[in-house]
């Protein structure tokens, strides 16, 4: 009973999610159908994967945040699509896209760790730069006409489960393991708790910072490939504003913005809440303009509740 209680305290956002699901199921019978739920999960996966990387960056402290994820989504999608169209085989295209994501992460890491530029500023700049590079690279036009074997990544199912959902689950489990069981995870939490103490304890904090941005670059690139596959084309405008959704998911999940406290499971719940809100509002035919307002207010409420609870 006690452990159940502490679980609820730790994952208050889960309560919010359950309440949302109950309300939606009553108001919209269509919500609780398997096809709709799978659809929701597929849509969520894009933000969820980015949020996983974002969560690690924020957890690692030192003001860590990655605002460049949206641009990484766009450029990696464009690279995968253009390479694929030039006849290179799919796994190589994917590896190249992931490689570019990791490289951008590496750049973010260098700027923050070695040049000591505040992560907010550094990643804001790379966000702008790589958005621009994407426009130059694509000449501002979408790269379309991707065939079925590419779009399968976003739309096919294995054992009835959409591939994006499977990918999300795998990444989630890997990062969960890293955070909770390995030295790297311990160091991420340590640096988030107290950077000076961590460095003096013999941890290469610079290397750690670079690593978390590489992870975030990789997760954003993964999302970039999935987005491209789902739509069947790579748009230079893809991923606009994705950083906000990812940060919202992390915050909803109870992660402290200054790092050191938070969980991967919380972030997942946060991402699901956001997806469920989106889907519910869609099913209710709420005007998209209003959707944004409602979403913002709900996030604010959830965070407010969390804060009240902590006090």
């Amino acid at each position: 009973m006690n452990s159940f209680k502490s679980f609820i305290v730790k994952y208050k956002s889960l309560v919010v999610l359950i309440i949302l699901v109950v309300i939606l199921s009553i108001a919209m019978p269509r919500f609780l159908t398997i096809s709709n739920l799978l659809n929701v999960l597929t849509q969520i996966s894009i933000n969820a994967i980015i949020a996983i990387g974002m969560c690690i960056v924020i957890l690692s402290g030192s003001g860590g945040i990655d605002l460049s994820v949206g641009s990484v989504v766009a450029i990696t999608g464009a690279i995968a699509a253009s390479l694929y169209k030039s006849g290179i085989n799919l796994p190589v295209c994917i590896l190249c896209a992931l490689g570019v994501g990791a490289l951008i992460g590496f750049a973010n890491g260098l700027l923050t760790a070695k040049q000591k530029i505040q992560p907010f500023i550094a990643t804001l700049c790379t966000q702008i730069i790589f958005r621009g590079i994407t426009y130059v690279y694509t000449d501002g036009k979408p790269i379309s006409g991707l065939d079925d074997s590419f779009t399968a990544i976003g739309n096919n199912r294995v054992l009835g489960i959409p591939i994006p959902v499977i990918i999300t689950l795998i990444i989630f489990l890997i990062t969960l393991y890293i955070l909770n069981e390995t030295v790297l995870g311990r160091h991420i939490y340590a640096n988030g708790g107290n950077e000076d103490c961590t460095r003096l304890s013999g941890v290469s904090t610079d290397r750690l910072k670079i690593l978390v941005y590489i992870i975030s670059g990789l997760t954003a690139a993964t999302s970039g490939i999935i987005v491209t596959a789902r739509i069947g084309s790579a748009s230079p405008n893809a991923g606009l504003g994705y950083e906000t959704d990812a940060i919202a998911a992390v915050v909803l999940g109870g992660t402290r913005m200054s790092g050191g406290e938070g969980t991967m499971l919380g972030t997942m719940i946060g991402a699901v809440i956001l997806g469920v809100i989106d889907n519910g509002l869609n099913l209710m035919n709420v005007n998209p303009f209003y959707q944004s307002i409602v979403k913002g207010v709900i996030i604010l409420l959830a965070v407010f509740l969390d804060k009240k609870n902590k006090e």
Partner: protein, 502 residues
């Protein structure tokens, strides 16, 4: 006619979640008096003062001011009644000027536009500064002042708010001897204005110097109130700890072996200049000097935290290249920081995880997984060896007392099996009983042939535990003194630059 006390706190009690931290404690102070409040950490001093300053509410008890009963429910109430609390952590804003700080929160305005009256506030600040004998400029940025000067700003704030009772919590903890002297002059000035000062400090010498009476607390109870002329240090200590301390500084003769660490002509900017010294196994070398003499900087250069401009470091006779703490630990050098909160502990972390942080690789099993069971075994071993009072591996570090936190950090470093240990202010802010335990740990390490450097601003401590003393002055090693020739005077001469080695 009998003089009434300015402040009387009568039979104050307070519990936190069922634990009694104050039990029927009374305290009275007269105007123009400096009252020392003495007790080990956890004795209830800060709780009592937090009740007086409105941060906490007492469960029972009464507070009288000038014989009238008062109700203090908030910090604002306390301020209105003329009670100021000068905390150990200063609340001066470094980005504002001196006068802006002094008038922060009660700015003087003029006219119907409510424009702030800068000229008036500057002038008033200047007067206040002068009345307390301070010489710094009111237009200076507070961040450019020394810590002692910033503290003066806090005191002036209290005076300008027409305070009648000023509480000072460890005011000299980070002051130089000169600044301490200045502070005492200011305290004397406050006294002559008829104000009452409640002075909390662990430094008994100071208490004898500035205070007239002392109130001693132990375990949340009032042990006694006495005039300082009627007791000596040992009596005070036994009142505080409830037992007689046979010897505050247990000393064992060294059996120094070969040189383990030697530092040659180390330079770092203009903070560390041509510093050379060596440490042998089985000895404790004390490093003395005034605040700002470059002692911590020297340690951090050795550690690779600060990049040396020139000079060499030898471990076991071999030249080493240390670029970071990581390299230092590999070479068997560990550093206990003077700043426990900022550099020593991750305060929201379990005690056990704090201990194993530098040594995590040891516990990695299959698939990169940390084997927590082994961590717990080591934690238990060290917690027992160092008699750390903790409820277990998962207790959050910030819930431990200062002394126990310090022991956790020492345990953390011992787990890395170091041969050279640099302790920077190892007993700062911890109580008398815990201090002695730390000294015993140091002696134990000495017996085990470790090389130990203790940086300390506490002269008694340096004299009490060191086999040799290196004194620094303005970034240089001003002199080295053997235990048998060591005295407070000898150290001071080097520390202020009167004597020099050459």
């Amino acid at each position: 006619m009998e003089v009434k006390p300015l402040l009387e706190m009568v039979k104050i009690s307070k519990s936190f979640s069922g634990v009694k931290v104050l039990q029927d404690v009374s305290l009275s102070v007269y105007g123009g008096e400096v009252m020392a409040l003495l007790g080990e950490n956890g004795a209830g001093k800060s709780t009592l003062m937090k009740i007086l300053s409105g941060l906490y509410k007492c469960d029972s008890g009464e507070i009288y001011l000038d014989g009238h009963k008062v109700q203090i429910d908030s910090v604002k109430d306390a301020q209105k009644l003329g009670i100021s609390f000068i905390h150990q952590e200063l609340s001066v804003l470094p980005n504002l000027t001196v006068w802006e700080n002094i008038f922060l929160g009660h700015e003087v305005t003029k006219g119907c536009t409510k424009k702030i009256d800068k000229a008036f506030m500057r002038e008033k600040s200047r007067e206040l500064l002068k009345s307390l004998g301070c010489t710094f400029d009111v237009n200076a940025k507070a961040g450019d002042l020394t810590i002692g000067e910033m503290q003066m700003i806090e005191i002036i704030k209290a005076v300008s708010a027409n305070s009648r009772i000023v509480i000072m919590d460890e005011p000299t903890a980070s002051l130089t001897d000169y600044e301490t002297k200045k502070l005492f002059e200011v305290i004397a000035a406050l006294k002559s204005k008829g104000m009452a000062v409640i002075y909390i400090s662990h430094r008994l010498d100071e208490i004898f110097e500035v205070c007239s009476r002392v109130t001693v607390l132990r375990d949340g109870k009032l042990i006694g109130v006495t005039e300082l002329g009627k007791v000596d240090k040992n009596q005070l200590i036994s009142m505080m700890v409830g037992r007689n301390l046979e010897e505050q500084y247990p000393y064992i003769a060294p059996s120094p072996g070969k040189v383990i660490l030697s530092v040659e002509k180390l330079n770092y900017k203009n903070k560390v200049k041509n510093v050379s010294f060596s440490l042998r196994e089985g000895e404790i070398v004390g490093m003395a000097g005034l605040v700002g003499a470059g002692r911590s900087e020297t340690a951090k250069v050795i550690l690779g935290e600060y990049k040396k401009t020139s000079g060499d470091i030898f471990v076991n006779g071999k030249k080493v290249d240390i670029k970071s703490s990581k390299d230092a630990i590999k070479n068997g050098i560990v550093y206990l920081s003077e700043d426990r909160k900022k550099e020593g502990l991750i305060s929201n972390w379990p005690v056990g995880e704090n201990m194993t942080l530098p040594n995590l690789k040891k516990y990695v099993g299959n698939f990169g997984r940390i084997v927590k069971k082994e961590e717990v075994i080591d934690f238990k071993e060290y917690a027992k060896k160092m008699s750390i009072k903790t409820t277990g591996y998962s207790q959050i570090a910030s819930n431990l007392s200062g002394g126990n936190q310090q022991k956790v950090i020492i345990a953390k470093w011992l787990m890395t099996k170091p041969q050279i240990l640099i302790f920077d202010e190892p007993t700062r802010g911890i109580d008398v009983g815990a201090k002695k335990e730390i000294y015993e740990i140091l002696n134990e390490l000495k017996k085990n042939n470790k090389a130990i450097l203790v940086i300390s601003s506490d002269m008694q401590e340096i004299l009490g535990i060191s086999d040799r003393i290196v004194v620094m002055h303005e970034g240089e090693v001003a002199g080295e003194i053997d235990r048998k020739n060591a005295s407070q005077e000898a150290i001071m001469k080097y520390a202020v630059g009167i004597s020099n080695r050459g």
